[in-house]
């Protein structure tokens, strides 16, 4: 088994004894080195919770997570955190509003004692397509797309093996989304990064990933490929419905969904 990321029987519960909600239910998947793996599903299906367990934001989980063969526990060394970085959905919430881009990028370098602060910051800003002029600006002086570039730069600074992307473009306009998706595709090729890409947007997932996992109500119900999704082929009725609904509005489909819901009730 030479997967870069291997998840086995991952489960996450929220809440106390009586009101327990199983947010992630027995999920297993493997992502090869240099691969971009997509995780899709509707809100509340547990896709972001999987990412939070992998990167250590959520310490309360059962199962096994391995990165290049090394088992990850609930508590991790700084060296382990360096190998997995995450980019969040909302660049308005993920950057400190009173810190400049410079001090946002300086922090991980200091925490991990990497040295050559100036060189690293200049280099990483250049890589994400922001010039040196952006270095001393505050987040409120940046557009949404520029902020997301700063968030990506912060993740890249530590030279991670695995980048977890949690809806990195869903807060952005479509014209900005294309810039950020192109940037992510280029970075993966240039630096041989591995992505675990979470989104509710099938078109974005199919564009960015080759293999795709479909989640529903905490379970990974189907693993498929972008090519199969494009052809509308799927083993699960839910996946087919999801693909159809992503195509835009369709009168007949809307009626079919309503009937299906009634039948399930």
């Amino acid at each position: 088994m030479n997967a870069l990321l291997a998840i086995e029987h991952l489960s996450v519960d929220f809440g106390e004894r009586r009101g327990t909600v199983r947010a992630v239910d027995d999920v297993s998947l493997a992502v090869g080195p240099g691969e971009s793996y997509g995780l899709v599903g509707e809100s509340g299906c547990g896709k972001s919770t999987v990412l939070r367990a992998i990167c250590g934001l959520n310490r309360d989980w059962q199962g096994a997570i391995r990165l290049a063969g090394d088992a990850l526990g609930p508590r991790r060394s700084p060296a382990m955190h360096r190998r997995i970085q995450m980019v969040f959905q909302d660049p308005y919430g993920s950057l400190h509003p009173r810190h400049t881009v410079d001090s946002i990028l300086r922090e991980p370098i200091a925490v991990h004692g990497l040295g050559d602060t100036n060189g690293r910051i200049r280099g990483v800003l250049d890589q994400v397509g922001l010039g040196p002029a952006f270095r001393f600006r505050f987040p409120h002086q940046l557009s949404g797309g520029q902020r997301q570039r700063v968030a990506i730069a912060r993740a890249l600074l530590l030279e991670p093996q695995l980048l977890l992307l949690d809806e990195p473009t869903s807060a952005l306009d479509v014209s900005i989304q294309s810039e950020v998706l192109n940037l992510l595709a280029d970075l993966r090729r240039e630096r041989n990064l591995t992505y675990l890409f979470v989104s509710h947007d099938l078109a974005v997932i199919a564009h960015m990933c080759d293999r795709v996992g479909v989640m529903r109500a905490g379970r990974l119900i189907e693993e498929t490929t972008a090519a199969r999704l494009r052809e509308g082929r799927a083993d699960q009725a839910y996946t087919r419905r999801f693909v159809e609904a992503s195509g835009g509005y369709d009168r007949a489909l809307a009626r079919a969904f309503a009937d299906l819901e009634e039948a399930q009730a």
Binding site: E42, S43, G144, D173, V174, S175, Q177, S178, E179, L181, N182, A185, H200, D201, L202, A203, V204, A206, H207, M208, A226, L229, R230, R241, F242, V243, A245, S246, G247, G248, Y249, D250, R251, L253, A254, R255, F257, A258, E261, E262, A265
Partner: protein, 280 residues
């Protein structure tokens, strides 16, 4: 453009804000008519699409300066209407649906009572009558068990259910014009389909005029009859929704080409090159 007489006719609509850095024009001279049809307004953030919707209902912020050559609704000049007259029109004859139902609903009031209140305020009905109308309306927006849902609070309902309740509340006074600002953007795709079907039925069966504001080109192309594309406060293109894929303005083309598509894989996404001439 539409054959039937327009329910809403807008011409020369401008919205400007005075800021310490000079005047910012959010809407810069917009003209369109809406008949008993679905008219989509698409554009990116800051294009002025939401401000256009709000200005029609006189819901723009106090600091905004709104001007219009014509702002006519069902033969009446909204620009000249008094605030009192506007209050009589707003909610009764023109309604607005906002993006996030969880923000728009009162969190400490049962959802059914909110719908009933909307009806009672407009029709001066008794409590029992308002309750009956509200239950009826909840059923019309395909809520399966209206009696149970009536007594729930907003935090107890899902996003899709919340948006259906909002729609019920906005429709119970039977408005002639509905302005929906990103009504389905907070919803999952399968739920979105059902909310759209409800709006679709209202246009087809009751002759509702619908202004559908959205950033989602694909959705507007499949749901609306006509589309207005806004950029920097102006309408840069107007076309039949079915023909949006063949749009001619470079901005619209640029947006369409920057979208990842499930049916047509692209090696690399096009990046929109903005032309200063579009602002002229």
């Amino acid at each position: 453009m539409s054959a039937a007489p327009a329910v809403l006719s807008v011409d020369g609509l401008r919205v400007a804000f005075d800021t310490p850095h000079g005047v910012v024009e959010a809407v810069r001279g917009v003209r369109f008519d809406v008949g008993r049809e679905r008219v989509g307004i698409v554009g990116e953030s800051g294009s002025g699409k939401s401000m256009t919707g709000r200005a029609i209902l006189r819901l723009a912020p106090r600091t905004a300066r709104v001007e219009a050559k014509r702002l006519q609704f069902a033969g009446e000049d909204l620009a000249a209407a008094s605030d009192r007259r506007m209050r009589a029109i707003r909610g009764r004859r023109i309604s607005m649906i906002l993006q996030d139902p969880r923000v728009a609903l009162n969190p400490v009031m049962r959802v059914g009572e909110q719908v009933a209140e909307a009806y009672a305020t407009v029709r001066k009905a008794s409590r029992a009558e308002a309750r009956e109308r509200a239950l009826d309306m909840l059923a019309q927006v395909r809520i399966r068990d209206p009696r149970r849902v009536y007594d729930l609070h907003p935090h107890q309902v899902s996003g899709g259910m919340g948006q259906r309740i909002m729609i019920a509340m906005m429709l119970v006074p039977e408005p002639e014009l509905l302005i929906a600002d990103e009504p389905t953007s907070a919803l999952d795709v399968t739920v979105r389909m059902q909310v759209l079907a409800i709006l679709d039925d209202l246009v087809n069966r009751r002759g509702l005029a619908l202004v559908f504001i959205s950033h989602d080109l694909n959705l507007v192309a499949t749901f609306c009859d006509r589309v207005l594309v806004m950029y920097a406060g102006r309408i840069v293109e107007e076309c039949r929704a079915a023909e949006l894929a063949r749009a001619s303005h470079p901005y619209t083309r640029g947006l369409l080409e920057s979208l990842p598509r499930l049916d047509a894989p692209r090696e690399r996404l096009a990046v929109l090159q903005r032309d200063p001439a579009w602002l002229a």
